[in-house]
Amino acid sequence: MTTTQPHPKTSPLIELSGIAKTFVVRRRVGRLRRTRAEVHAVSDLSFTVSRGEMVGYIGPNGAGKSTTIKMLTGILVPSAGLLRVAGIEPSRERIQLARRIGVVFGQRTTLWWDLPLRDSFGLLRRIYKIPPARYRENLDRFVDLLDLGPLLDVPVRQLSLGQRMRGDITAALLHDPEVLYLDEPTIGLDIVSKARVREFLREVNAGQGTTVLLTTHDLTDIEQLCSRVMVIDHGRLMYDGDLDGLHSLGDSERTLVVDLAEPLPAIEVDGGRVVRVDGPRQWLAFPAAASAAPLVAAIADRYPLADLSIQEPAIEAVIARMYAEGVAS
């Protein structure tokens, strides 16, 4: 496995070593009997994140992403292992740490439904004890960057999802946190809102040097934002490195889409295999590293070719295969 450490010399801001989290679940068996079952949400998880990094943290549903973030914020106590964020053990000094981190849960809101955005921010200023000058400066900047001006006096319950998310991200950053955890920050957003959120995150990471750990199901987030990606599945770290490494690891294939003059049985040709047939159209997979020319020539030679196109390997496909096969690191 190829592991890149972008800043090997700086001391890690986030440090996990052998972290495990086990939940005990009681299940009913029969009418009255219950059995205790252990669910290993995270097992033997070790990684470090350096100051200023922007790391994508991906995995299928139930892989342990949110559990990891909850442990990093101190909400959950690890069952085993060593965990440090900015030198602090999160669960032991949760409140101490809370002043230095920002969290955005895409599916929840930190804002108050019945308050205008401005009042929610004002309450957070008191909660985080942000000095007034600093608060004004930050608020002005975020309002400008995220175009929140017209929304400040609107009660949160009247905001659209994209507007609310911009409010939530602002709320997480008002107190200048060193680390920002984003749990699916673009979930449910339209393309324009997604682009705006990404641009803003890039700005915060580059401008303030805020360390960002981002979980997402939208791999475009990762492709556009993160130099480093970690893949977790079944509570284990499957991959930790850059995006290119993920491509090569996944043994990528490109897809040749062939339109024939008439519907025919699956094409039989060396160097490619048919993965899908739909009327006259057929999809052939071939190694990403190989040239498409000989394949196209061989098909054109023996079949009535009408049109063709080539699809590049999608990172989705690479990762989907990884999830399916459980590639060991």
Partner: protein, 266 residues
């Protein structure tokens, strides 16, 4: 401390915006006050000096009960609905990553609500009652002050009970059942249905020692001047002890909850 004051004042203002609900509450409490006042008058004419109260005491008891029902959340409610829903949905995770103490946060919020409901919903019913009936009103300012202290402590005790009830949602996933049982206990053992001093034998003795007594029976008795001098201090002490015990139990249980239990949702 500033944070908690801000939270309390926010909840106060939030409740203040529900004007129609406040008016409806005042109306309901007043109607019930009249119905119960006539019932009590009939009862105390049949059994004079029942529970150590004369008719004026008994009618005053009714109106104070109606006035304190909402502020002391005798039937449950207040922050409870919001907090248990946040535990059920997992939104409590958001409360937990803030640099504030979970229990103090909700206590501040509930005190803000109680303060509004005392002023907005509490004063008017007793005022109407005083127009229509002869009530026992404290002659000395000190008694009024003691009454306010007793109401405050009563609200804190009520919070302590409701906070514990909410925390069961961490284990039970849904605390509605526990809330209903607790609400029923609250109505009965606070003295909302009948003054606890009316209950015969051991039931009366025991119920006067339970924490619910601190929520209504004690503040009303202070108002009626049943406790004076050293006995008044002991009575307020009784409330304070329950407040401290319940708050400490709530602290212990919430740290257990966040340590042992799943915060729900992804």
């Amino acid at each position: 401390m500033m944070v908690y004051a801000a939270i309390a004042s926010r909840t106060f203002r939030r409740y203040a915006t529900y004007r129609a609900a406040t008016a409806a509450g005042v109306f309901t409490n007043s109607v019930f006050g009249f119905i119960m006042a006539f019932t009590y008058i009939a009862l105390w004419h049949a059994r004079p000096q029942l529970g150590g109260y004369d008719v004026a005491d008994a009618v005053t008891y009714v109106w104070l009960g109606q006035s304190l029902l909402a502020p002391a959340a005798l039937f449950g409610g207040g922050f409870q609905d919001e907090f248990s829903e946040r535990i059920r949905s997992g939104d409590v995770a958001i409360d937990l990553y803030r640099p504030v103490d979970l229990q103090s946060w909700w206590l501040a919020s509930d005190l803000g609500r109680a303060a509004f409901q005392f002023l907005g919903r509490g004063i008017l019913p007793t005022f109407f009652g005083a127009l229509a009936f002869d009530l026992t009103l404290p002659p000395r300012p000190g008694t009024w002050l003691a009454f306010l202290c007793a109401v405050f402590l009563g609200v804190v005790v009520s919070f302590g009970i409701r906070y514990l009830v909410c925390l069961t949602a961490f284990w039970l996933m849904d605390s509605t059942g526990v809330q209903q049982v607790a609400g029923f206990c609250g109505m009965f053992f606070s003295g909302m249905v009948l003054p606890l001093t009316v209950f015969p034998g051991w039931l009366g003795d025991v119920s006067l020692l339970l924490p619910w007594a601190a929520c209504l029976q004690v503040p009303v008795d202070v108002f009626l001047g049943k406790h004076e001098g050293v006995q008044l201090l002991q009575t307020l002490g009784f409330q304070a002890i329950w407040a401290v015990v319940l708050l400490l139990a709530g602290r212990a249980l919430s740290s257990l909850a966040t340590r042992k239990v799943v915060v729900q949702g992804g």
